[in-house]
């Protein structure tokens, strides 16, 4: 293998793929970055077996030469060193030469590094993509969807399936569901997809999606998505992002979403958020972070919280509109804060079905989002 690569392009590529290099792994090959050349350029791949990132540097773009391939081949080089070496090289181009015993020479300007590589054959194979099974979504919408659901995934491993976000595609509607069994987040969006592509119960680890969020661009460019048996693939201009899927069946969440409500109120999102923030100040150190809300038909909501050792806080906010009966309810303030922080609408609608049953929070202007929180039982 013998090639010349534009250094800035290379640094950029290494930066992006490095996110998938795991620092401690039982599989030695995964501490490296695979570099392989093909007719369209070179591809850098890194993987921690949960996620894999592939970055392709084209031969040229807009008349600028990025890669010059003299001899094809592939090699795995240790990520720890490669990153620093390339960043600190003096000249604009980097020359990479690999002999048949995986000893690679990196040359740039007058400096030369000899680096022991590993056999690229040992690197995990990524699934082959079947181009016809693709659906597309705008990058910024996908990012938003992830942000608005990922916070609700479970952080404990007792039920591994809940550490993921469940994806379902039906017609052109893509739906995300995340829950940690105390609260639930659901978000829908319209995508460009053929009707025969429908799937359900595709569960992607929340961690992988947060990692994906860091890589996706903040514009409305289209991201192609392919679901295979074991992995899901996200495809942007130059990057392919693979994530492994979680094993198992996601619980049926539709049954726990109440269809009727006894009390419906509409609140100003910001006001409510601030009030909850204030109320949780005293309860923050406590175990449950419980705040108590009482809704009276006069149009005022009282929010209070008591920590016996510290003190008590009460706050009042105005209810924009109210329907149904009066109600007193307690819930975990953290769950409410998480939810309100990802709300982008000015007003939210909250539908209660009694002090002991879950309640729904929805923005007033979009029906595509739904959040559900389980109340806390208190004896006061």
């Amino acid at each position: 293998m013998h090639l010349q690569i534009h250094r800035d392009q290379m640094t950029h590529a290494i930066n992006d793929v490095s996110k998938a290099v795991s620092s401690r792994t039982t599989i030695p090959i995964l501490t490296g970055i695979k570099i392989s050349s093909h007719s369209e350029g070179i591809t850098l791949t890194a993987s921690d077996s949960d996620i894999s990132i592939e970055y392709t540097i084209p031969l040229e773009e807009d008349g600028n030469l990025f890669v010059d391939i003299k001899q094809h081949g592939s090699i795995v080089l240790p990520a720890r060193y490669l990153n620093d070496i390339i960043r600190k090289l003096p000249s604009e181009f980097v020359e990479l030469h690999v002999n048949d015993r995986f000893l690679s020479t990196i040359r740039s300007g007058r400096s030369e590094f000899n680096l022991n590589g590993l056999d690229a054959e040992d690197f995990p194979r990524l699934p082959q993509i079947e181009e016809e099974k693709v659906f597309s979504i705008q990058s910024d919408i996908l990012k938003m969807m992830i942000k608005q659901t990922a916070f609700a995934v479970s952080t404990t491993e007792t039920r591994p399936i809940l550490t993921g976000i469940m994806w379902a595609l039906e017609g052109d509607q893509l739906q995300f569901v995340a829950t940690d069994s105390h609260r639930l987040a659901k978000r829908q969006a319209t995508v460009e997809a053929l009707p025969e592509l429908a799937f359900e119960n595709i569960i992607i680890p929340g961690k992988s999606l947060l990692e994906l969020n860091k890589i996706l661009p903040d514009n409305d460019s289209l991201i192609d998505i392919v679901v295979t048996d074991n992995q899901i693939l996200f495809k942007t201009d130059r990057i392919l992002f693979y994530s492994r899927l979680l094993n198992g069946t996601y619980p049926d969440v539709n049954r726990i979403i109440p269809s009727q409500s006894k009390t419906n109120i509409i609140l100003n999102t910001k006001e409510f958020l601030h009030a909850i923030e204030r109320a949780s100040l005293l309860a923050k150190d406590g175990k449950n972070n419980v705040v108590k809300c009482s809704v009276d038909l006069g149009g005022v909501m009282e929010i209070s919280s008591t920590s016996p050792e510290v003190g008590k806080v009460t706050d009042e906010i105005e209810i924009k509109s109210i329907e149904g009966e009066e109600l007193k309810i307690s819930f975990n303030a953290k769950y409410m804060l998480d939810t309100l922080r990802v709300m982008d609408s000015e007003e939210v609608q909250i539908s209660f079905t009694g002090a002991m049953s879950p309640f729904i929070i929805q923005p007033t202007d979009a029906e595509q989002m739904l959040y559900l929180i389980l109340p806390v039982r208190t004896y006061q």
Binding site: I29, D122, P124, P127, T163, P205, G248
Partner: protein, 326 residues
């Protein structure tokens, strides 16, 4: 490597191979057997056969699955070994996390737990659930030298495969290759079928001393004097190893007598104490085959009596007298 090369464990190799062929692979195996009987090799072979591209019940050692298992780089093949003295709960958690995800490449996942008896109680308990309800196509292979130290709850969830001990010559060869003295190795391997125990015996100083004492003892016995009884009192009854030591010594005595018998019958290839042929020759001239057979019988009877808590000194003295009176 293929199943053919697991010739030491032919029976197990056949069972496993057939179960792959008939698609009846259990979700969890426990390989039990002494040190050095090839548990790990067979486990690796099973893993390779399950993941190999050929899928014909054997491994090819050429496809990228087999090659990567050999180099430890296969993402769907996990080997867990004790971290320090035991397998810790975090290692099991890591494994559980890994197995909550779908496989990376194939449909199947394999994990090997070496020294599974060294799991901490917490680790073993957290493994339980996961051993019981494997997600999809997961094959667990637990390796242990002490199946009796495993939690019964784990044992009951695995298909237990008992590995046969290695044949005598094989064990001798193995220990010899570790640089141990051959005549000692041959005696030790005769006394115990366990490789580790035999190794310990060969390395112990008292074991080598006992062998020389046995030689001397037989010499004294053949002298027909009272020397034998005095020597017995001085060296043997008061040995540092206690009753177990006497039992080992009698074992050595039996094998020495048997060696003389072999010498008589010209079956030199079976002789254990290869370095003492000269002394053996000298003693062989002074005892008949009938005496040797009778003597072996007496020593075995003595061993038996000692195991039933007879007074060691009286029993041994009786043995000497009996031997001299035959």
């Amino acid at each position: 490597m293929s199943w053919q090369e697991c010739s030491d464990q032919q029976r197990i190799a056949t069972i496993l191979r057939q179960s792959i062929k008939n698609d009846r692979v259990a979700h969890a195996y426990l390989f039990a057997g002494g040190r050095g009987v090839g548990k790990r090799r067979v486990a690796m072979q099973l893993g390779k056969s399950l993941l190999c591209l050929r899928q014909d019940g054997d491994s090819c050692d050429q496809c990228h699955h087999c090659l990567r298992i050999n180099s430890g780089n296969h993402p769907d093949f996990h080997l867990v070994e004790p971290d320090g003295a035991s397998i810790k709960i975090d290692q099991i958690r890591g494994l559980q996390k890994e197995f909550s995800l779908r496989a990376v490449e194939s449909k199947r996942k394999v994990y090997i737990l070496d020294h599974a008896d060294k799991m901490t109680v917490q680790a073993a308990n957290s493994l339980l659930k996961f051993l019981e309800e494997p997600g999809s196509e997961v094959t667990a292979i637990l390796l242990t030298e002490n199946p009796h130290q495993m939690l019964p709850t784990i044992l009951s969830r695995c298909q237990v495969m008992h590995f046969a001990e290695l044949p005598f010559e094989k064990r001798v060869g193995l220990l010899k290759s570790e640089g141990l003295y051959e005549p000692l190795v041959r005696n030790a391997c005769q006394i115990t079928a366990d490789l580790g125990q035999a190794r310990e015996l060969c390395q112990a100083e008292w074991f080598a001393q006992f062998r020389n004492q046995v030689l001397q003892l037989n010499e004294d016995v053949l002298e027909k004097g009272s020397h034998a009884l005095v020597g017995l009192q001085e060296k043997i009854v008061k040995n540092d190893q206690g009753t177990q030591g006497i039992s080992n010594l009698l074992d050595l005595y039996i094998y020495w007598l048997r060696d003389i018998l072999f010498f008589h019958m010209d079956r030199k290839q079976d002789i254990l104490n290869l370095d003492q042929l000269e002394a053996m020759g000298r003693q062989a001239l002074r005892c008949s085959k009938t005496w040797l057979l009778r003597a072996i019988q007496i020593v075995m009877g003595t061993k038996d009596r000692l195991a039933r808590h007879a007074n060691p000194q009286l029993t041994l003295e009786r043995m000497i007298i009996e031997l001299q009176e035959v």
